[in-house]
Symmetry: D2
Subunit: 469 residues, 4 copies
């Protein structure tokens, strides 16, 4: 027998023969959509209570359904629930178990809805929770970054462009740069959640229903802001999945950039950072190796999330209205992207807390790379040399240092004057990374006061007590 | 000679030899970033006025710079401005032209800023304008869709799932489904614009500056909401470009789905839609062809925008702080995505206005595909047959029709009762697409009243006078 | 204790503390690389036999290792083998089980190799088998296509460009178009296999080894054509994975195009094709639905394989030499792409065998769309009217038909002469799809003889007995 | 007037009104497909000579066409040819110019072909040339790599895994790793070219023609191996474009990895490599900067080529037979991918020739990172300690060195024996990177003899005289 009765399909009446077993294996989704079971049950309870409220079933029927669904939920949670790919998806499994318990009462649950709106509802509820989890994990990483910023607040480190040493910055400023990126990520999460939070339930297959359902009631029960407005749109819409995975991709790209940098910093050549052994692994053949595997995997998994996004984008391209079965393929990339980003964010917070800048090693080579050249140029500007001319002069001084193998601070007054008579020995007071950093004054710069204020801002915003310095 | 003086590079002092010509050709960007000239000039004027306000240059110098820059802008607009790839980018071209006019005064413009923050500022300004244009074009298409909805408001058309006929819907409802998708797109555009609108200017290369610049003043002058908060973040940030192209991708994906559907509708087999000749093309060999090329290109160009997005995502993956030259590659995909989506939206509005549903042809075959089967099932539910049982019964009736080659409405009372004794001839009153459509009552459904209200809603929201029906 | 002894890591000696459990869960691969167990064991047996041959271990030790590994293989196959993520990957699991059985003898297995070359070897062996399976499945689909071509060989169907009816073709020709695409896919599979088939084993971590291993011996034992030539290249190379997934992507794209077309053909509007119920599914709410789900999933899964490829491309971008842990992420997209394409190919063959063209329905509407217009144009060319002029004239005739609502064959001699005096009633002998098809004569065209010959060619090439017609 | 006569469309007869100007701008391709003009003319000349050979036109007509086409080619090359988007594409421009010169003779050129097969032919010819250029450029880079390998053949550099120092290798071995990758790239280019090289011409629109064309003759004239076999396949096939861009993507990914590595090597922290000034650029604000821009752009442009490939893959997904206008979008990504990869390869060869390893700086820090640990482990294996035990012991020695802040060579006999009594002072003879490198003996390893032989192999294979050492 077909139908959710007896464990069959939702759609048997019109069909003569059974489904080919290979087709069942090909088209089942229960192996991955079982993750939706809690949200499916919550949606079905809300739906049945609404059906009772509008008189399509009795309150006693709705109560029986809710009780039975909670039992099924417990059974699934306990691991005892039996799955069978001939029942296609988690929705059929649950409805079938309900009918097995309740008979005709269970057969009324699917009134005024379709799998199309049901799946969209369950998936949106799941995604909404996942967005909230992601936000919490982002906050966790941001807190760790702010703590690290305080820990190493006034250490001077090289700032890079083109991976070449550029200008000195405070480590506190460095950590805060990542916090700013995370903050934008949180904004994207919030915007995505807001847009997602419209109720698909009651769109039925694609056109709505002739039954007197109350979509505002289920919206309220399920925490949606309002019913989504057009049933054809609902049946075809996967914007919320694609946008969610995009938002995750941006997070993971930020993580990948951070991971790349810290991989560099843990090399023998940079030597800026030490990681706890617990977050590293070794080699099966090279006994000395201590590898930053978690960082490498974090970087590599950006490729994975980009792949998930590409799948979703390509999936929905050129699909006419309304639901097409292609859309079943939305779930695995969605789940994978959340799983990946959540795991990486959780470890990023741990690593950020556990890592230590090797301040002495950084300091020992801080004079390499002419990090104070821009400070010198700005000193010339303050002496009324136009910027372009000042830039040119300092460029010549650097060229001279290169040939002599010395620092700018090592140039003699004679050296300076040989380049331009406006230069004199007093300029040497402007040199050195400490001087350069102390001189910053623009808003958002690495000026010590700016960094301190911004750390305090984030400590407050993220609920951190200000660390003792 | 090096430097923007005499048309050279911004950075010659440290270098012994010139740049290889092949390297110049390889790394130039002026061939495409010249599009930024207006925004570059606006940014430089704001920057120089601020420099004057804080005393880094005189008001007279700032005035001279502003005047000269406006002259240069006019020269560029007139097409007389000479480009030379040895000057790398549009920023160098303009500054070099300024110095040629003003000498040392021009050499002061680049004080307290770097090309890193300058390029970010120019690009954000350009993108902000482009987002606004995109929003306007979206509104244009939405208006056309609403007009089409009114034009064909009460025509009954097949609604599809799996591209199989599913349930009947009003054409008005159909057009509104696209409006809802566009509305989400507008929300994404607005959120992206809001997030973008923080001022990079004054971050300088990556660490800020020791000069007394006022970033709030340039923010206000350029319409930014506030200065972006962290100079290292600014120097490395391309979130705004990636998010913009993502938002565009979503628009183009909606366009691609619409185009696919209308390509189907213009086939000989569907025959639902006629397009004006002016938007079609023919064949070089097959004299009878009238091809929906604009729709096909619209669909195909979704691939292009997905490619642009993939480029941007892959570009920023794993880049350490702060600026890396890879980021120069952000502009072409950004420009291409906007160009593509803007062109497609503009034509989508034209085509939507010019197309006509072939209501008679649709009507002639509206009885195919059992579009009233769900209405029949819901009638059984109202007669207290549980949904799953009702679904099963109607499935059997459809199977019977298939074997007989008839419509549901053609089944006799005997046929009905043979399937289940609860079925009787009065059910035939529930059949037919008109009856089915009239029966819809859920919020967001294709019920005539719902559709009429929603059309009115959008007419008001989009500033359309309600069309006479 | 660390090391594969006692179930630990391969790399403990240098480390003070244990690995964080969250890191183990984050970085383990045994949950998916366990699929490699057979190839890992084959590789280890070949490696140990070689070590014995060159005197690094005794033949008795190699025999003991081979026996124990075969026992472990049987245990894994039986499902009794215990996995533990603290042992990271399948390689460590197997080696650890070996040491548990053999003690110091087992501890010698990893001599002269590293996990880097071991993983590459196992993965290449797995991929080589998978490529061979893919080739077999392609052949299976090609055979089904050829059978379908014979079955419907001489049915005339519309050929489309721009999804508009263009010229008539034989169904036999249609099916063969897909065979040609598959044939290119087979070529790509073979080229990829050839390039993959170089032995990584013995590259060790990245530089080779000081031990007297014989890489030619393991190459021969494992069926590789030769040892790969450069150890640094081997340690970093994932070309074979990326190319494999690209080849699969091309197959899946062909499948997606075929699926799209057959989805169209099973619509109510086209009505060209019937699919067996066993390969379709229904709706939970719409009792009449019969949906081509397998085709839709096949189309949708192209997005999945494109996503897999994107992941791999993005993964390897910008990775310096040699092995980086990011590369662990190569396996899941590789496995997923093969799983997806293999499943789709298998069902494509079944569906192709089970589907039937509805020749009567196609025939009933074959006169729509002026499919004979090009034949008419070529008839004019044969009467010495230049092609461009002939094209113009037939275009005018079609315009006339459009206005009159008739076929080209329905135009009167008067109609013809009104357009151009060179036209006369004898042209009507050139009209009609059957005449058009019979007229084709170019090589590779839909000429009946061409199609028959090409079917025979493929029947022979693919080992099919020529079907009785 | 419509038609190529008078500069119009190829397809006007059936149309009442003109094309909307916005549609012309939207759908034109001449702004980029003009690059195909030489191949279009070559194809048309071959086609017309064949038409003469089979009697469809006279030899005099074919001669006139060939002469006129050569004139048009010269006009295009001279930059005097006028383009007009109302003529859509380069093919229409050239045919229109031909008709303007020759009248009715020109109107005969398009006999027995369509734009579908014409465009495919032109594009394949262009791509075939481009693949050959790409191969030449790859050879150029390989030659430079081999020269660099000889130049620095016996310098010992650190080999890395996980970007951590792993084992020492010869610089000669290092450069050869890239040569091996290029060699696989050449294989892919050759396989792609072979598969591409089948003649589309004569497939006409999609079904062939009733005219007595000889496709073998045009195949021979245009250097194709044979006529492609199925006209429907030809009309829809873009495998050759996608595969070409994939092959390019692999090349660019190799370039990106090389660029990443060399960017690292030019940092202040690594200091392994110096690049000529001519291939670097500076900063507009930081006077000291010397940035490896060409390498960064090379890395970044991998994103661009991946984007091109994604566009093509997504473009062809789900397109039914045969030609769809979406396919016009194949050209820009194809051209862009070739332009990008060709430019990067050309500069890679220059940079490889111009760069110098800073052997003294590398040597100065070669003792960092325990590069000899694996050599030590293998020495223990030779003393009959099982690999896993030997690995464990050396791990402990490294731990000891870490705590003492010394090299392995600095451990005393007492230190050694404290770890394991089997260890003694003679082991110190096994230490040091020079000893480690000299000890390699496996095929494909960094053994000096292996490296020398492989350099010689490539010098011969690539036509380089062996450099004096």
């Amino acid at each position: 027998m077909s139908g959710p009765d007896g464990g069959g399909k939702a759609w048997g009446g019109r069909f003569d023969g059974g489904t080919d077993k290979r087709v069942e294996a090909f088209s089942e989704s229960v192996s991955y959509d079982r993750r939706l079971f809690r949200h499916d049950i919550a949606g079905s309870i809300a739906h049945s209570r609404m059906l009772a409220a509008v008189g399509v079933m009795t309150p006693a029927e709705a109560d029986a359904i809710a009780r039975a669904l909670k039992e099924i939920e417990a059974e699934i949670e306990s691991g005892k629930f039996a799955y069978d790919i001939s029942k296609e998806d988690i929705h059929m499994h649950i409805e079938s178990a309900l009918i097995a318990r309740l008979g005709d009462t269970g057969r009324k649950l699917h009134t005024g809805r379709s799998r199309n709106d049901q799946v969209a509802t369950d998936s949106k509820l799941w995604t909404r929770d996942a967005l909230d989890r992601g936000d919490g994990l982002l906050v966790g990483w941001m807190q760790a970054l702010v703590r690290a910023g305080r820990r190493h607040q006034n250490a001077v480190i090289p700032g890079y462009t083109h991976l070449q040493r550029a200008m000195p910055v405070l480590a506190g400023h460095y950590f805060l740069a990542w916090v700013e990126k995370c903050h934008r990520d949180r904004g994207r999460l919030a915007d995505c959640r807001k847009r997602l939070n419209e109720n698909p339930l009651g769109a039925a297959a694609l056109a709505g229903t002739s039954l007197p359902i109350d979509r505002r009631m289920t919206s309220e029960a399920l925490g949606f802001d309002r019913p989504a407005a057009n049933s054809l749109d609902i049946s075809s819409d996967r914007d919320w999945a694609v946008e969610s995975v995009f938002v995750l991709t941006m997070i993971q790209l930020h993580l990948s950039a951070w991971a790349e940098e810290w991989i560099l910093w843990t090399t023998s050549e940079f030597g800026f950072l030490s990681l706890p052994d617990a977050y590293c692994t070794g080699s099966s053949i090279m006994p000395q190796k201590k590898n930053p595997d978690v960082l490498e995997l974090t970087r590599g998994r950006a490729a994975r999330v980009i792949g998930d996004l590409t799948t979703l984008l390509t999936l929905v391209k050129g699909l006419p209205l309304a639901y097409n079965r292609d859309l079943q393929e939305d779930k695995e990339p969605l789940f994978d992207a959340f799983d990946t980003v959540e795991a990486c964010l959780a470890l990023a917070a741990l690593i950020t807390d556990g890592a230590r800048l090797r301040e002495d090693r950084i300091r020992a080579r801080i004079d390499e790379g002419y990090l104070d050249a821009t400070a010198l140029m700005e000193a010339l500007i303050k002496r009324n040399i136009p910027q372009r001319s000042a830039h040119e002069l300092v460029g010549k001084l650097v060229g001279l240092c290169e040939r002599k193998g010395c620092r700018l601070a090592d140039l003699s007054e004679t050296d300076l004057k040989a380049v331009d008579t406006r230069l004199d020995g007093s300029l040497r007071d402007e040199l050195g990374v400490d001087h350069a950093v102390a001189g910053y004054r623009s808003e958002g710069s690495s000026a010590p006061g700016e960094v301190d204020n911004r750390l305090a801002h984030w400590e407050q915003a993220l609920g951190l007590a200000k660390a003792a310095k």
